[in-house]
């Protein structure tokens, strides 16, 4: 088993192979040339890629031979009754058994019961009663975060921008908005609506029951009760409330990592997003080890002067000890910390714009 990084880019999927120490990385020739790979994951011996092309549309590509050959999901689309057509595929998330989940735009979720051979739209979410109050973010109305409870297949979370977080406890049959406490500072009429929050990334902690982390357009949040209540975690070391990705530590539930952009203080009512580049021209990874009560700069080895963007799918963590943290930039660099952010190593540079980073071992 070799540590690998799946790097989805505007120009195909790159695989980076590492040594056991996760300090030396080599870049292999790109897979899926011609496709924008919004996200890729390796699961149970198969590679899955949410692949898009501006002429030929959106699909999921899968490979069971490490990327040598690929099969395309051909019958992927939204039913006529929705009045919607598929725009982009965003995120493939493995579920339990042969189940896979696919997040897509506009505000769509699909489910496969046969390891990605066929996909069924999840109408309970696509036609949710609150949908008329959803709005697209700058990247479209994307379903980008799908988190499945590690032992309870009935519990699933979905994050849609800008609709908010939804939770199902009946295997996707019904969904309830779970946005209490998350702000929509851009909504002057109602800063805390039931839905309409611009969630950027949501992660479920696999070990601590009920804990999720969220980077939102309007702040960083944590919940300890399955999304019933979210606590805003800023003015405590973070230089900005705005950012896109978030990463967690599966061994330490109180540890999380964010990469702030812009320079806004949500506590003062400022709304971020006007300057989507690392805060202060510094590539700053911020780490908390106390559940978000305080954050510290953890950027040893990263360039101090850098105006870069890291997208919502552009950060990941592995399941090793110590936990490795990974992220890629829109300017084509990939950085790895093999030790929970203590130091960073440049694993690749001069790649196309990085859309997603995921960790794999095979």
């Amino acid at each position: 088993m070799t540590p690998s990084i799946l790097v989805g880019t505007r120009k195909g999927l790159f695989v980076l192979r590492g040594d056991e120490g996760r300090r030396k990385w080599t870049v292999e020739e790109p897979l899926l040339p011609g496709w924008e790979v919004f996200h890729a994951v390796h699961h149970d011996g198969t590679l899955y890629a949410a692949a898009n092309n501006f002429v030929y549309g959106a699909t999921v590509q899968r490979s069971s031979d490490g990327g040598k050959t690929w099969e395309r999901s051909e019958a992927l689309g939204l039913p006529e009754e929705t009045g919607l057509t598929l725009e982009k595929t965003w995120h493939v998330e493995p579920g339990h058994g042969d189940t896979l989940w696919l997040g897509a735009a506009p505000g769509a979720l699909f489910r496969s019961a046969d390891r990605g051979e066929s996909w069924e739209p999840v109408m309970s979410l696509i036609q949710h009663e609150t949908r008329e109050r959803w709005n697209p973010g700058a990247g479209g109305m994307c379903t980008h975060s799908i988190q499945v409870h590690p032992t309870d297949p009935n519990t699933i979370y979905a994050g849609i921008s800008a609709a908010g977080v939804f939770r199902s406890e009946d295997d996707g049959a019904t969904w309830a908005p779970k946005n209490k406490g998350t702000a929509a500072d851009f909504n002057e009429e109602d800063r805390f609506p039931e839905v309409g929050q611009c969630v950027h990334k949501v992660l479920l902690h696999p070990e601590q029951e009920g804990r999720l982390w969220q980077q939102n357009h309007c702040g960083v949040y944590r919940t300890d009760d399955k999304g019933e209540n979210w606590e805003r975690l800023e003015d405590n070391g973070l230089p900005s409330s705005f950012g896109f990705p978030i990463a967690i530590n599966h061994l330490k539930p109180d540890m999380a990592f964010v990469i702030p952009e812009d320079s806004v203080r949500g506590s003062e009512g400022e709304v971020g997003g006007g300057d989507r580049v690392t805060t202060g021209g510094r590539l700053g990874v911020y780490r908390t080890d106390d559940g978000g009560r305080s954050w510290e700069l953890a950027s040893n080895g990263l360039p101090e002067q850098a105006w870069v963007e890291v997208l919502r799918e552009g950060m990941a963590s592995d399941r090793r000890d110590p936990v490795g943290i990974y992220f890629g930039t829109k300017s084509g660099a990939v950085y790895v910390s093999p030790d929970e952010g203590e130091e960073w190593i440049e694993a690749a540079r001069h790649l196309p714009a990085v859309l997603s980073v995921e960790v794999a071992e095979w």
């Binding site: 501006f54 030929y56 699909t59 395309r72 019958a75 939204l78 598929l86």
Partner: protein, 85 residues
């Protein structure tokens, strides 16, 4: 038989075949017979908007569009829009 010529990415998705022979009475029939039909048409069976299709070098938009009739010995060329970056 009608000959269909595919651009690079479509040929790659068709198993490396740049040229395919199909039996069809219309352009739609010819394109729907291809192993990349889902990349040419959306889920409403609409030809994707950034595709250009030529029958013997004539843009189908100047004829009957996707329903343009074929006699059986034409060459259809599919060309992706020149756009993007």
């Amino acid at each position: 038989m009608v000959t269909v010529l595919l651009p690079g990415l479509l040929a790659d998705q068709a198993g490396g075949r740049k040229e395919l022979q199909v039996d069809a009475a219309t352009v739609r029939g010819a394109l729907e017979a291809l192993p990349v039909r889902d990349l040419l048409f959306d889920e409403r069976d609409e030809l994707r908007p950034l595709l250009n299709v030529y029958v013997d070098r004539e843009d189908i938009r100047s004829g009957d569009g996707i329903e343009t009739a074929l006699s059986g010995d034409e060459t259809i060329r599919v060309v992706a829009a020149i756009a993007g970056g």
